[in-house]
């Protein structure tokens, strides 16, 4: 029972940072690879092509 409670609480404490890290990662990729704002697009232009993101 103690083991079960412990593993359940580990799962819960891990779930929030896991979801947060995943969302942060997706946001970062959207920013560097996908947002079409002109300044961002120009700065990231070569990387977007070289990484295979749809660029323009």
């Amino acid at each position: 029972m103690t083991t079960l409670t412990q593993s359940l609480s580990t799962t819960r404490t891990r779930l929030v940072p896991t979801v947060f890290a995943m969302m942060l990662g997706v946001a970062l990729i959207a920013l560097t690879g996908h947002v079409q704002a002109a300044a961002l697009h120009d700065a990231a232009h070569d990387v977007r092509h070289a990484t295979g993101f749809p660029c323009h």
């Binding site: 929030v16 896991t18 997706v26 990231a44 070289a50 990484t51 295979g52 993101f53 749809p54």
Partner: protein, 226 residues
């Protein structure tokens, strides 16, 4: 707990981004600059005069290449955050996460983020015809998301139903097809476009394998600090 995610992802992403940025500078950037000579009209494919396949290319540009390096590091940090999050989920299900098993995670990441979308939407050299960028981005995210779920099911699924769903998710985006241009207006020679796609995927593969290994290593190392 959160610091373990962020710290290991930052270390792995920044180190990998640095390596990937240098590989891109050496192997991809010259092909891109060559293509831009055709995109800008400075060189003309099938014009009146035959064009040398080895024109003088612009050299190192501190601002342009510096920005590329920063954005590559940011991009791979984003990948690393997603990677360690997935690794954490797998570890809870009993998977062993370290630098060695990270190599396989890297291969899987390459398949999800590079190979799966590139199978139908090949890495584009500047100056090629392409459909609306918004539509292509939606297709890109859908394909990457489907591939991510599919590989998870292949790796951690325990039933034929799961594996069957994985195959469907891998095939569906390509059977449905990506947004395509109405007509081809590309000015860049196919030799350059093909080399560009191959180089982009090759560098992506190397970078992802390195990223997976680094992420596994730092994820394990940060555990000691908890």
């Amino acid at each position: 707990m959160l610091s373990r995610f962020v710290t290991s992802a930052l270390f792995a992403g920044a180190a990998t981004g640095l390596i990937a940025g240098l590989l891109q500078f050496v192997f991809v950037q010259p092909v891109l600059l060559h293509a831009e000579l055709y995109e800008s009209g400075e060189l003309l494919h099938f014009g009146a005069e035959a064009v040398s396949a080895h024109p003088a290319l612009p050299g190192f540009d501190a601002v342009r290449d510096g920005l590329s390096l920063i954005f590559t590091m940011l991009t791979y940090t984003g990948y690393a955050l997603i990677g360690v999050a997935a690794m954490s989920l797998a570890e809870e299900r009993g998977a062993l996460i370290n630098a060695r098993s990270g190599l396989i995670w890297g291969v899987a990441g390459f398949v999800v983020f590079h190979l799966a979308p590139a199978f139908t939407l090949a890495p584009e050299v500047p100056g090629v015809a392409a459909a609306d960028v918004g539509a292509r981005q939606i297709w890109w995210f859908a394909t990457v998301g489907a591939a991510a779920v599919a590989l998870w099911l292949l790796a951690f699924g325990i039933s034929w139903i799961g594996w069957g769903v994985a195959v469907v998710l891998l095939l569906a985006p390509h059977l449905a097809g990506a947004p395509e241009p109405d007509r081809f207006i590309g000015t860049v020679p196919p030799e350059i476009a093909a080399l560009f796609a191959a180089r982009a995927l090759g560098v992506g593969f190397a970078a992802w394998v390195i990223l997976g290994s680094f992420a596994g290593y730092f994820w394990q190392r940060e555990a000691a600090h908890e």
